[in-house]
Symmetry: D2
């Protein structure tokens, strides 16, 4: 009996100590630390419910609550003494509580298992992260709306296939990103109620023989939902996966914006001047001004995707109920969470200080025959069937390119050699601002559409910020 491991709570049927290699391998403290305050929060709710149902006395409740307060203080002051031999956050806190207040500390575990306890702690963590992302998304959207407002008349090429396609205003371009981030926000809103579900009362997997009241625990937590099935409650990690998917989508959108910043700060584009505070130089090439921030944002998308894939793979084919594999849910989410938050914040900072170079954008418009569609539409308006108009314009572009001219620089006689239907009014049609103005249908790049979009989005933002509208 002397070989046994006196510290382990489950040591009863074991004849030999856990190998230290195994202790190190199975402990989860590296990431469990992030759950410590949530563990206290869950314990408080559990204790309140235990008192409601009379399982513990009011006096025991008070001792538990004040013990938990003291531990919270120690955690916040970084004075809590973590013991890796105690495996995880729950055991560390329970041990400390029992040291502080004695037997009531043990009673707190009544009707609770680490299986439902860790599920709750992590649900609280994920819900907190989702809320943080929401407010970070709103910050970014707000900054983008400001830039859009300021650049309603700044024109640049709209690209398809990274080839200049049609002129658009910069506001329209930026508002496209706002739509993406708004969808991300909405996905979080929808994932939230599936995250804020209290699993306490599921115990190890089957529910408990104590007359717990799970609804009441949920109430003390401020959760609207309580688990419906105990076996599901301890083996469900959908909420983590939803969080990782939302994170992947945010990163995908940010990587697209990042790519554009990288492109636009290349001198061939030159559309933006990177804020000094958001770019770095080279240790060897003195002329360099590098869009490192945008590159890292783009690069970190890979890491977040990988973490979604990691947890999907880990969860694949696990039989019910809890399996230790699930311990590997924390690292992916917690690290992805860091990436998402830091990327949203640096992008917000950088976009807020971004300056745009209108001259360079105008040069790019001219170089790209961005008014070719206008000419084709003009020909259609004059009665040419659409496909013929398109073909004719293509030939005019080829001619102009060969001559090194823009379409707007061709002589009227040249136009008329291609089609007798073209008249002097073509030059108005070829003007870039007019081209933009004419796309005035809802959702288009025209000024009314853009103004309407900004107005609607500001209303939405105010509403989400709790403002009265």
């Amino acid at each position: 009996m002397k070989d046994k491991d006196p510290q382990k709570i489950w040591g009863g049927r074991f004849a030999a100590r856990t190998s230290s290699l195994v202790e190190e391998f199975t402990q989860s403290l590296d990431y469990d630390r992030f759950l410590a305050l949530h563990d206290l929060e869950g314990s408080r709710a559990h204790a309140l419910m235990l008192a409601d149902t009379g399982i513990i006395s009011p006096e025991e409740l008070q001792r538990i609550l004040s013990g938990l307060d003291q531990i919270q203080g120690e955690l916040e002051q970084n004075e809590f003494n973590w013991d890796p031999g105690l495996e995880d956050v729950h055991m560390n806190i329970e041990k400390r509580l029992t040291d502080l207040i004695g037997e009531p500390g043990q009673k707190l575990h009544t009707g609770r298992s680490r299986n439902d306890q860790v599920a709750l702690d992590f649900r609280l963590y994920v819900a907190g992260a989702l809320e943080r992302w929401q407010s970070e998304l709103k910050e970014l959207i707000s900054i983008l709306l400001n830039q859009a407002e300021a650049h309603r008349k700044t024109l640049l090429p709209g690209y398809t296939h990274l080839q200049p396609a049609q002129p658009v205003c910069l506001a329209q371009h930026l508002l496209a990103y706002v739509q993406m981030f708004k969808r991300d926000y909405e996905r979080i809103e929808q994932a939230m109620p599936r995250t804020r579900v209290s699993p306490l009362g599921a115990a190890a997997l089957a529910g408990t023989t104590y007359c717990l009241q799970p609804e009441q625990t949920a109430g003390h937590l401020g959760f609207e939902e309580v688990f419906k099935n105990s076996m599901d409650a301890v083996s469900d990690r959908d909420f983590v996966l939803e969080g990782l998917f939302v994170a992947s989508m945010i990163m995908m959108h940010l990587s697209r914006l990042g790519e554009e910043i990288i492109l636009w700060s290349n001198p061939g584009f030159g559309f933006i001047i990177l804020p000094d505070a958001y770019s770095t130089g080279s240790s060897i090439m003195p002329q360099k001004k590098n869009p490192d921030v945008a590159e890292l944002v783009r690069g970190k998308a890979g890491g977040v995707y990988g973490r979604l894939m990691a947890l999907l793979t880990t969860m694949k084919a696990l039989p019910l109920t809890y399996n230790r594999d699930m311990q590997e849910d924390k690292e992916p989410f917690i690290e992805a969470c860091k990436s998402v938050s830091s990327c949203l914040r640096v992008m917000t900072g950088m976009m807020g200080e971004m300056e745009f170079n209108k001259d360079k954008m105008m040069q790019a418009l001219k170089k790209g025959f961005l008014n070719a569609t206008e000419l084709a539409d003009y020909l259609v308006f004059k009665g040419t069937p659409f496909r013929q108009a398109h073909h004719l314009t293509g030939r005019l572009v080829a001619y102009a390119e060969e001559k090194g001219l823009g379409l707007e620089e061709l002589d009227l006689t040249v136009f008329q050699d291609f089609s007798r239907l073209i008249d002097r009014d073509v030059y108005g049609v070829l003007d870039y601002q007019q081209a933009v103005n004419r796309r005035s249908t809802p959702g288009g790049t025209g000024p009314d559409s853009v103004l309407g979009q900004i107005k609607d989005l500001r209303l939405w933002l105010d509403k989400k910020n709790g403002g009265s509208v």
Copy 2:
């Protein structure tokens, strides 16, 4: 000029023909075919809107609609003549329409680009798939509820770490899966409005100069939402990724159920008798009865995950707006869709015919000391602090295992050697059915909880099936 490619609609500025290697490489007909009927649906809505706004005449509308009807017939009869040289589904149908009805066929393209057209076609396809999954999920849930109802008193070991943990009823186990599939259903419900958004009117990327009315097009499609920003409209593939994520979650849940079927049909468990119609044999080993269906379901999870990853990766860092990379969105979704639908359907069929072997389940209960938690709880009830009770029970299990007995087979004197608090009433506590019955808190495995779960889920299902409740 004679070198040119007369067929290509964009051939105007090109001096040389497309390489046949490139034609084969860039054509998308393999998967576009799946969009053909949706392309007609979109064209009808677009034509109706063009007529509403007076861009085409009522007579032109009639000719277009009847031309589209004829094409629909040809497609349905498998008589449509696909031409890979025409690149994609849109050009194939447009060409056929123009052949059939002449110039009005060309007018149909007014204010529309393949960029917004393909986005619409694919949104219709994805929305259709999501609806199908919903009804397949409901079928599976319905079958699982029937089995749960029938097995409210069938007991089996509940597992954690694939080790017997506590006795549960089979209904509780099956209902855990119902919760998972119900969440999948809800995720689809939430993704649907972001899928059913009409992008028509965004044109190539910037909106259009024709006075289109996008809201009206959406109305003709029966869509509630219309795009808000033209650049977003043609470059947004969030709806496909949401579909792939939902698919991955369904497959993850199915893979877990598949794993259990594989385990339970192993003779060491023997909990189920696979329906002959849902299992196969071996060409070399005559005794084999293999759970191939469950294995393939489990295996196909990998393929669906991979497709989510594929499209996330493809979309990473793409600048606005449309890029040809996005053509690679169809294969992943369409193939994932096949996997999800076929897996849901075979699983429903198999679960409906599944027989459960109650004797084997009872044997497994006995072999697994599944009543150890009861004993520990009994000791707590008698006044032993929780952790001590746990430790004591662990030692009793070790003793019983050494003797080759179940806990319920130990003599009272043995019990009392371990703790004087144990009395004759311990044998009632160690009974499996009673152990299950005592877990009667909400969500637990007790009979009331299970009955309540089934009732609530049936109500939910009726509601989703449109029934009055």
Copy 3:
């Protein structure tokens, strides 16, 4: 008994027919078809070995071989009659063989199981794909070497962070890709011996009681290696995963080249003129010339990555030996194989016809202060400590940028205001070609290094093409 499925070879212990849903779900003919010729190849080798060991007679061997020949003809003429009810390629061919030649057709199955048979068929398929990739890689390398040779004196900006960094010659840039594809080639060379391992003789999982001679079968196949452990032989899919990894690496390299083609064909760069045969236009914007081929290559990387992930996930945690999940190995590899081959081929075609615009490249050099490092090095040479030289040059670049001038256009007095160490010889140092020439250490962008690289790579290529050198 009348309910039974007379066709199934394993029907003995089954009382009910397979559900048609299940038949459709479990059949693998969609991808097995690709294995048909390899199945014949494997059967020939097996038959020869059976004859060697006397298990079949010489006459039986002849009938088998001629039956297999006839089936090969039917397959090649597309006249083979596939029956999905026969599940897979092996049963289809075996059935046909038995129909053709009677009992010897059944004997061919002696000591063989579908488990080792499919492993062999797929090894032959993968080995064939790897060989094809090797020759496609050599074609691409050869074309890149030609372009490098032709552009040893074409200068362009070398980029880091997509910012102009230092001038390089185009040859050096293209040769970097040759190094990548050469590594891909070498990875294939190394994976090949692990692919060309004969599993025949492993039978279902345990070996066989017939006195087979696996080494001899391997010999008839032209394989150098034979399986070492029967359980590993039927459950090993490492060779498929290695193939998918190699495919992913090729696609990653191609996606980088694709990205550069997309960038370089944007007018802001304008470095290349896409061959008309390798680009497409827009149905709506007549001026467009889109790098679709490069975009699709870039986009297809996602699909191939996803397939690697799919099979890794499918194989995770499968117990020994064969599990039906493994049937899902074929789709990923076969589809990835199509992507890799088509991408290599179009990229080779496109790079062969690519024209480079030297003027645009020179403009980009000037715009990017690409000689700043030269100036810093010059200052170091004149005695300024490195970090100070770097700092000083940075300030000079900022000054020149503000004035809208290149460094080479600044007056000597300006230079001397910044550092008295700068003299008239600075203007030679700032010349781009000289800057390139001076990087003449091995591996650098200088002419000797580049010439040496090309020579070495041609030698390597000749050797791999089997030429004497």
Copy 4:
């Protein structure tokens, strides 16, 4: 000027300080720390080469080397003072060196950039990890060989589809894993030369104007290979991806072994008794003995796969040469490395102490009709065509199962009702050990084959351990 950031080495052209958010976001010290000793190693080699070529004097060399030694001491004693404001490991060490020895510290940077420097540091790190994995794989293989040796006569069911298929000896089962790990070892051997390539001399991207001798630097590092193309040298991360692929394969193999340990420790199998030191208990269920170690190994496969996917995705479509995204290469590899090493080590420890329960294995053989193939083969031997023999045996199994008997327990008259060809000698054929013995062809489960496999693998291991054979 006063706003500038005096500390940044590249601050020359910047008017504003880096935002502290950005400083935190872009710094890489969290993972760079792991490279510190390798950075010193690279600096030593670079300094030696600089001295060889006369760029620095022997005295400067001595000062540099002793400065580096002092820094090494500080690092090893954990006394090195990291400054996050200095961005990365290179700048931290360079700054410290310059503080210690003055100007020669700056000279060490001659002809070197952080781009080639970090590539070298990380190549050294990856090469070290690969070597460690090799020795850990050898340890695991050695332990598995010992267990195989000890269990050459221990029989258990060989499974396909997790259904009992044919009897095998445990040695054969374990040796299948040895083959997997041996392949992993070989993949590492092949990846090594592509990892141990010195990139020093590539400088920022284009080579350098200093007369460096890259071959000599490689020599001082003990590397056989030197970079061939400077642009490739700074943007190649193939070696990291190869490392991650090898890691994924190792984890895939370990996850399969882990799955079997989990299955086998379930009481339905009961094939193993987990060492107490390698299992844990439950805080609530006193009877539990959980295979946590095996579960975590299985779960960690997901995390490693995800990291492979992460870096593949990050590297996708990056233009030449260095991009900051590549900084995201370290976290995935370093974390994957921890997982692989710890999993290999715990698995080695656990397998070494694993006890196998022969009785349970024999029971499983009997329950599973594991001798059915023998009966079918027997019938073939007696002249029944293979397919008929298979069918007949299937019917006999169905009959025996119905009666609750093993095949070996059926009366001869029963056998003869099914086939007159069956005689008394059938009972010998149905014996399990004989069934195993008869599979004596190379690679099979028969005793000679197994002995031969063990011998060959021991020879291989001795050779890899450098022993003379």
